[in-house]
Each structure stands twice: as structure tokens, then as C-alpha cells.
């Protein structure tokens, strides 16, 4: 086993060796600019770009002409939300999203608020899913754009995209979906889904970092205001010389995802079930997010009465994400877990395990044993655990402020 054991596939995935191999010639031999029309270097590169566009489109049931290359899902989200909000601003200035969206959506919305738009940040239910009735109630005559993610990055829940699409389309509202965490994990058929804009990232699906795409529906046609101006690449929606090697990488990664996702998902589900069964035999462990509408790749668990940072420190042999962002002086509990109604302590003591293509059963077994040992040790050290075991209700304790 290689340490630390990588269980953070939702943060990023390694580039599949087959993808890396496919990329290399496009850096060295076939280095042409795909926009060069006057010689074979350009033509060859352009052909590779278009083949990759077909692979990306094929994974999500889109037409290749509906795929616009970007630098990643953050850029795609910015282009989709700002581009549509501004283009349709004469129709209205109200936008809707969820409190549990990725920062790339939330911060884009905040920016639009600063320029005169009004945004509704919807609560989610305790299981992390949107309440469709509450959603309908939040819609207004001046609502122009709705943005809801397909799969949540922290808790892995799958939002009801088909239903949301029907509601939006019936009212002529542009519906954007951040699918960065969805490709290769759930089936996506944009022929059936009434989604207008969808963001993709390569590096969450075994492709390289720095490349993504935005799906822009042609029928009915969706219009955007470009955010990046220049040579008019990508039909004017996103200028900038295309990164052929990155695009080839994304294309190959998505081609492999289409071929292998069925079998891979079942293998990962078996690993997830093993991990879940192994960890939840411990007392006071709670899974965050719905277990049905959820990708099997994600398991987010709170271990009560154990502090998050010391937990991360204790399990340094596994690379996972914590429910708190310990980047600054005070720990910031995850806003996603807070939105589910988890208290600060449980949010702090949560761990996101994300399983992927190269995770083995041996690694999962090791992780289970490690967590049992370390949680046991930290609880032995925890005055809160001692009080709970003595039957004290911690909510009734008067804590000394500091």
C-alpha cells in the first residue's frame, strides 16, 4: 500500500495513465495551434480538438456543437451564470441557487448581487436535497437563471435535476447545472434532461487539471454574454488559444468514463458499503446526506465528541477532507454541513471519504482499522465523551466562555 492512502477523489483524481499517454504527443510532436487554418499542424490539432469534443458530448448525451472548452468548472460556472444573467437581464434580475452549492457558484452569485441582481439562496432539507415545493414557491416572474449542482462535492447527494429542469423549462427560466462531481458517476443524458447549461471539469474524472467545458444548449437556443474577449474562439463564447493537450486529455478521460463507469460504479459501491459498515459499528457516528440519492463514491461521516483537527492529525495515513476548513485561526465548520442543520461540533468532526478508480479493498480495510483505533484513542482523551458516558446531557452544561 502507498501512504497516505488516497481517499480524496472528490478533491481531485490522478490522471489515468492511459489519459496521460494520449496527451503527450500533443505537447511535443503535434504542437500546432488548432486555430491555424493554413497548414497541417493546425488542421491536425483542430481534428484532435473536435474528436475530444465528440467524446465529451457523448458522455453526457449532447451534440458536440454544444460543448465549449473552458479552463475548468469554476470558469464554466462563471461563464454560465454571469453570461446568462447578463444576457437575459432585460427579462429580470432574480436568480436562484442553493446554500450548499460550490463556492464557484455562490461567489459568482455574490458578484452578481454587487452588480444589481437579486439572489435567493435556498435552504436544503436535512438530507441535503432540495425541496421541490419550496423551489416552486421561490420562483418569481422576474427569475431568469437557476443554478443547482448535480452531485454535491461534500456529501455526494444527487439533486433531482430532471424535475427541476421540467419546472424551469415550463417557465422559460435558464437552468444551469454544475456537474463537476457528476461525470463518470451518474448517467447524464442532456437529450432527455431539460438543462440549458452544464459545467464540467476534467480533473474530477481522471483527466488533467486546467481544462473543463460548458454545455450550451442549441435547441432551444441559449445565449450567453462572453466573459473572456479576444480572438473569438469557441464561437465567440470563450476566446483564448485552445490547449490541445489538455483537451485531448479531457476527451480521453471522458471516453474512458463512458466505457467503464457502469462496472466502476458497482466496484466502488461495494467498497463504499464495506467502509460504511466498518465505520458505523462505532458509537455516535452519523452519515451526512441522503443515502439513496447519493453517488457511491462519497461517504461523509461525523464522529461525535472528537475534534476535527485532531482527528485529521490522527489519521494522517489517509488523505481525506475534513468538515472544517482549518486554514485560519479559528476552524470554520463546513457551510454545507451547517445547511443540513448539523451543529458546529458535528460539522467540525466530520470526514469526507471519497473513493475512486484506484482504491483497493486492502486500503479500505486499513482505513477502517485506523479510524477505529484513532477515534477510540481521541474519545478516551475527550472530556465530552466522558461526560456523555456518565449520562450528562451536554446541552445542559454551562460552558465557561473563552
Amino acid at each position: 500500500m502507498k501512504f497516505p492512502i488516497y481517499l480524496d477523489y472528490s478533491a481531485t483524481t490522478p490522471v489515468d495513465p492511459r489519459v496521460a499517454q494520449a496527451m503527450i504527443p500533443w505537447l511535443t510532436e503535434n504542437f500546432g495551434n488548432p486555430a491555424s487554418r493554413s497548414h497541417a499542424y493546425g488542421w491536425t490539432a483542430e481534428e484532435a480538438v473536435e474528436t475530444s469534443r465528440e467524446h465529451v458530448a457523448a458522455l453526457v448525451g449532447a451534440d458536440p456543437k454544444e460543448i465549449v472548452w473552458t479552463s475548468g468548472a469554476t470558469e464554466s460556472n462563471n461563464l454560465a451564470i454571469k453570461g446568462a444573467a447578463h444576457f437575459y437581464a432585460s427579462k429580470g434580475k432574480h436568480l436562484i441557487t442553493l446554500k450548499t452549492e460550490h463556492k464557484a457558484v455562490l461567489d459568482t452569485m455574490r458578484e452578481l448581487e454587487r452588480t444589481g441582481f437579486e439572489v435567493t439562496y435556498m435552504d436544503v432539507q436535512e438530507n441535503g436535497l432540495i425541496d421541490l415545493e419550496a423551489f416552486k414557491a421561490a420562483l418569481r416572474p422576474d427569475t431568469t437563471v437557476v443554478s443547482v449542482m448535480f452531485v454535491n462535492n461534500e456529501i455526494g447527494v444527487i439533486q433531482p435535476i430532471a424535475e427541476l429542469g421540467e419546472i424551469c423549462r415550463a417557465r422559460g427560466i435558464i437552468f444551469h447545472v454544475d456537474a463537476a462531481q457528476a461525470t463518470g458517476k451518474v448517467d447524464i443524458d442532456l437529450g432527455a434532461l431539460k438543462v440549458d447549461l452544464m459545467s464540467f471539469s476534467a480533473h474530477k474524472t481522471y483527466g488533467p487539471k486546467g481544462i473543463g467545458a460548458l454545455y450550451v444548449r442549441r435547441k432551444p437556443r441559449v445565449r450567453l454574454e462572453a466573459q473572456m474577449h479576444g480572438g473569438g474562439h469557441e464561437r465567440g463564447m470563450r476566446s483564448g488559444t485552445l490547449a490541445t493537450h489538455q483537451i485531448v486529455g479531457m476527451g480521453e478521460a471522458f471516453r474512458l468514463a463512458k466505457l467503464e463507469m457502469g462496472a466502476e460504479r458497482e466496484r466502488i459501491r461495494a467498497l463504499r458499503d464495506r467502509l460504511l459498515a466498518g465505520l458505523t459499528t462505532m458509537e455516535e457516528t452519523f452519515v451526512n446526506g441522503d443515502m439513496e440519492a447519493r453517488v457511491p463514491h462519497n461517504l461523509n461521516i461525523s464522529f461525535a465528541y472528537v475534534e476535527g483537527e485532531s482527528l485529521i492529525m490522527a489519521i494522517k495515513d489517509v488523505a481525506v477532507s475534513s468538515g472544517s476548513a482549518c486554514t485560519s485561526a479559528s476552524l470554520e465548520p463546513s457551510y454545507v454541513l451547517r445547511a443540513l442543520g448539523r451543529n458546529d461540533e458535528l460539522a467540525h468532526s466530520s470526514i469526507r471519504f471519497s473513493i475512486g478508480r484506484f482504491t483497493t479493498e486492502e486500503e479500505v480495510n486499513y482505513t477502517i482499522e485506523l479510524l477505529h483505533n484513532k477515534i477510540g484513542k481521541l474519545r478516551e482523551l475527550s472530556p465530552l465523551w466522558e461526560m456523555v458516558k456518565e449520562g450528562v446531557d451536554l446541552n445542559t452544561v454551562q460552558w465557561a466562555a473563552h
Partner: protein
């Protein structure tokens, strides 16, 4: 975050983990911090009533590595000290010994508070 070797040592091998009976007349208990803040320290001292010297100390801490290390360290430091000497342990000394970064200074402050709370609890029991 990078921890100093001393923090890691106390974190990996915490000294004097455990509890004394709270009701014991020779025991003073200090509990400081709050779960919502991410740190709770419980420090207990066992005092020789004839000399006023701290014979033994135990702790339990819910908190980050630096909080665990700070409380582990003070259990070592208070042993053999009189109550007054223990009251003079300063957070700056704890922070210096463990080479705590600025964002973790609050852990050392909490440890100092825990000593004070334990001593005061002992004194209260003895009507001082």
C-alpha cells in the same frame, strides 16, 4: 499545518490522561472552553492537604493537537508545585515551550485558565 516536534510528542504520547473522582477532597477540577469553540479542557490536580503541594495531575482534552499538547504539558509542570506556584504558570511559557504558532496561542491561554480553574476549585472546597 506544521506542528513542532514537542506538540507532536505530547499529541502522540499524551502524559497523565485520565480522571480523578471529582468529589475527592484532595482533588481540584478545572473545566474550560466550549464544544462550539472547538476546545474543552478538563484539568484535575491532587493536592497534599498538609503541604499544599500538587502531588498528581490528570487531564482530558477535546481539541486540536496544540490544545492536547498544552494540557498534557501543564499536567507535568504543575506536579510538585504549590498552589501559588501553579497559579504563576503563564500561557507565554507554555506557548514558548511548545513553539505554538500565533494561531494556536489560544490553546496555551486555555491551559493557563484550566490551571487557575482547578486551583480555585480546590480552594473553594477548602473554604479558602
Amino acid at each position: 499545518m506544521a506542528y513542532s516536534e514537542k506538540v507532536l510528542d505530547h499529541y502522540e504520547n499524551p502524559r497523565n490522561v485520565g480522571s480523578f473522582a471529582k468529589e475527592d477532597g484532595e482533588v481540584g477540577t478545572g473545566m474550560v472552553g466550549a464544544p462550539a469553540c472547538g476546545d474543552v479542557m478538563k484539568l484535575q490536580i491532587k493536592v497534599d492537604p498538609s503541604t499544599g503541594v500538587i502531588q498528581d495531575a490528570k487531564f482530558k482534552t477535546y481539541g486540536c493537537g496544540s490544545a492536547i499538547a498544552s494540557s498534557s504539558l501543564v499536567t507535568e509542570w504543575v506536579k510538585g508545585k504549590t498552589l501559588d506556584e501553579a497559579m504563576n504558570i503563564k500561557n507565554t511559557a507554555i506557548a514558548e515551550e511548545l513553539a505554538l504558532p500565533p494561531v494556536k496561542i489560544h490553546c496555551s491561554i486555555l491551559a493557563e485558565d484550566a490551571i487557575k480553574a482547578a486551583v480555585e476549585d480546590y480552594k473553594k472546597k477548602h473554604g479558602a
